[in-house]
């Protein structure tokens, strides 16, 4: 079959699907965690019991993770309706209502799913779609990641078909013209990298896709691989043709079993359709892709460390130059890009480099994908044009902070990035502005913090992560980060002196300069940015022994307000795991500070109409009769 025939077959299959009732269920890892598989089972049971012929498609994730499990029911000649927070109990209602009857069950709906002129789905009822621009996410949650025909029916592999008739140099020229920069973190110009690899001497050459997304709080690579693996594979094949490689590796971290499974199926289907293998589409080009699995090490995401891992060694980075494009995997020229970078490639080849270069800002072209986590109302994932302001992302897309709290800061790019405070909320998000502010796009993970989050504790958390993940090769990174962590622990425990701040800053600079790879270079970023923007908070911890956000355990105490305690209620007494709350029926309850594990259970269970439990910082502010082990219980 030639490509036109493959495409025709795919399109007619898609049309056949559209001609029948079909149900999409978001079944990526995030959907499954929210219970999507139980929902699918409930649909299967109900449909078979009622003898209804409808297809259930396990789609990926649209990025509306807060609304999972997400279900879209499509009826020919009627609307595609998107339902949110669907449980197995709600399934009969949907089937009886909309599939059998004509009631679209709007009380359970998030909105309608519409398709724009570029065949990108959107939900008009959600205003966030007005601010988003979905390129690499456009198929996510819409097509079946387990069926290559869905991808082909939406223009998939037409770019490959086109480029195989072009000289490889022309492709590199177009990628350069588009201004595409690598989406793995550093933002190196992709076209330039391709050119270096293409010009490098030595064969064979390799193409490696870096899907070792180790940053806690970033999950877009996982979502893309689980939702549209063919898009990444097509990008890799085009790259292989452009740099004249015949072998590619998809390196996926072992923590993503579903992504690995989806990629495995996708590779098999691409081979069957002759987009992969020998003599691709009859054009004489050979390219094969293998999956390599990580074994859990943050450092494996560093390019030279990743190469070492594929070679079966410990993930230790090496000095560059030579660049990987000259001396890479097995000592051969290697082109390594991130999942998202490869995803853009087919689109650039289809729509032209000028189209891509027309989106974004000065030196940051195209779109950026971010995962939104932390204290925002609508956690999930988004894709916006480069240069979109932080304010737009926080308020118009992520819905602002939960429970009416105030936005405090956002940590962008995980442990390698830095935090951006509320005062910089109008900053345009692109490679260069973020770098100026001391942060970076990095992995694209955004963690939003509100007034209840402590800047010092957050820095401590990232340093703790780094000390566990440092590979140990460079002294400054191996030992310096441990010292930084111990200084931060002293601060959060109220044991530091004000001079320690200066020491910490000096040491942070030393770690930056004395480390070989990106992990060490960027390890002090969380400290340096929080010091820069939240210096007051550090000083409060040190001088007043006070944690303004009431987070750091050693600096807070739980206290029950005697006038607010209802007395007859015993929620706190009965649930305290360490039996620290004392007070019989009818008595005011009191916390024994020595026994208290500061788990917050009493605060959680105290009925909202009383709100008698509070946190106090510094501990010295506790009313005097509550300090020490013996507690004084006032008689009712």
């Amino acid at each position: 079959m030639n490509f036109q025939e493959i495409k025709k077959r795919a399109q007619s299959e898609w049309e056949a699907l559209e001609g029948k009732i079909h149900i999409r269920v978001g079944a990526a890892t995030c959907g499954r965690a929210a219970g999507a598989l139980d929902v699918i089972e409930a649909f299967e049971k109900k449909l078979s019991r009622d003898g209804i012929d409808a297809r259930i498609i396990h789609v990926g994730c649209m990025g509306l993770c807060y609304a999972e499990p997400l279900v879209v029911i499509s009826k020919p000649g009627s609307f595609h309706v998107v339902y949110h927070h669907i449980t197995p109990e709600l399934v009969p209602r949907l089937v009886d209502g909309y599939i059998i009857g004509d009631d679209p069950c709007l009380e359970l709906a998030l909105g309608l799913l519409e398709i724009d002129e570029r065949s990108t789905p959107y939900i008009p009822e959600l205003s966030r779609f007005e601010h988003e621009l979905r390129f690499i996410l456009r198929h996510c949650g819409y097509i079946d990641p387990g069926d290559i025909n869905h991808y082909i029916a939406h223009g998939g592999y037409s770019a490959l078909e086109k480029v195989l008739q072009m000289p490889p140099e022309k492709i590199i020229e177009e990628i350069k013209k588009s201004g595409l920069r690598g989406r793995g973190g550093a933002g190196f110009p992709a076209g330039r990298k391709w050119e270096l690899c293409s010009n490098a001497k030595g064969t064979p050459k390799y193409v490696v896709c870096n899907a070792d997304e180790g940053d806690p709080g970033a999950f877009m690579d996982r979502v893309i691989l689980e939702s549209n693996p063919q898009g990444v594979i097509e990008g890799m094949i085009i790259a292989g043709y452009a740099v004249r490689a015949e072998k590619g590796y998809m390196y996926v971290r072992a923590e993503y079993p579903l992504a690995i499974e989806r990629v495995r199926v996708a590779l098999r289907q691409a081979e069957e359709s002759r987009f992969l293998g020998d003599n691709i589409l009859g054009r004489g080009f050979n390219f094969h892709i293998d999956i390599e699995q990580g074994a859990g090490a943050f450092i494996s995401g560093e390019a030279t460390a990743l190469v070492a891992t594929i070679e079966g060694k410990r993930s230790e980075p090496r000095l560059r130059p030579p660049r990987l494009t000259e001396v890479g995997l097995w000592g051969k020229p290697t082109l390594m890009n991130n999942v998202k970078t490869f995803c853009y490639v087919p689109m650039i080849m289809n729509r032209g480099p000028e189209w891509f270069a027309s989106i974004g800002t000065g030196r940051s072209k195209g779109t950026a994908v971010f995962t939104l986590a932390g204290k925002v109302q609508f956690p999930g994932m988004t894709e916006v044009p480069m240069g979109t302001t932080l304010r737009r992302i926080v308020y118009d897309i992520a819905g602002g902070m939960r429970n009416g709290k105030r936005f405090k800061a956002v940590q962008i790019g995980g442990p390698s990035g830095g935090c951006i405070p509320e005062s910089l909320i109008d900053i345009p998000i692109d490679f260069d502005s973020l770098r100026k502010a001391g942060s970076m796009i990095g992995s694209g993970g955004m963690i939003f913090m509100d007034e209840d989050d402590c800047a010092v504790d957050t820095a401590r958390f990232f340093l703790d992560f780094i000390t566990k993940e440092s590979c140990g090769k460079c002294t400054m990174c191996r030992l310096g980060t441990v010292q930084l962590l111990s200084l931060l622990e002293d601060i959060t425990a109220g044991k530091a002196s004000i001079e320690d701040l200066q020491l910490m800053e000096t040491l942070a600079q030393d770690v930056k300069e004395g480390s070989l790879c990106g992990l060490g270079h960027s390890a002090p970023n969380p400290i340096l940015t929080t010091l820069r923007y939240f210096g007051e908070e550090y000083r409060a911890h040190i001088i007043e022994k006070r944690c303004p956000a009431l987070v750091c355990k050693d600096l807070i105490a739980y206290y029950i307000l005697p006038d607010k305690c209802e007395r007859s209620c015993e929620h706190c007494v009965l649930t305290c795991p360490t039996e620290a709350v004392k007070g019989g029926k009818g008595e005011v309850k009191v916390i024994n500070q020595e026994k208290c594990a500061k788990c917050g259970t009493c605060l959680e269970v105290c009925p909202p109409e009383y709100r008698a439990v509070i946190k106090i910082s510094p501990v010295s502010k506790l009313p005097s009769d509550h300090q020490g082990g013996e507690v004084f219980i006032k008689e009712g």
Binding site: A33, Q293, A295, A297, A373, T575
Partner: protein
Amino acid sequence: MTRKEEEQLSAILEKHGRENNLIPLLLEIQKGLGYLPKEGLRKVADLLGMRAMDVWGVATFFNQFRHTPLGKNHVKVCMGTACHLAGGQVVLEAFERELDIKVGETKEDGSFSLERVACIGCCMLAPVVMIKDRIFSRMSSLKTEESLIPYRGEAKEED
């Protein structure tokens, strides 16, 4: 290693052959046995013609590799950024208290083991805990005991 583990290991090594890809082999052994026994690593080194120290070096470098058997019910507490902000540490401490083991340990009777993991990618449900294959979302110290009840029963029944 128990006898059963030894047999399992031999079968895996035999199937694998001498092809030099250490990490996938170690992952496979762990999938079969649940952990990487020290004597087993020696056999891997012999098979691949590597020095035992190089195999050991790789096996102790990566977080995925475990060197002690897991409990029947393995509890993973997520310590990713979102979970941390939502109180993951408190939840971890609550599990340590409830199970009466420290993180990284297995109960003497083999019923439970407790581990902290970096990020399981469901940040919107934070803080998250995984017991066996089930994910518990929006956890708190309070919900800890309740989440363990079905597994405690199960561990008893099997005894």
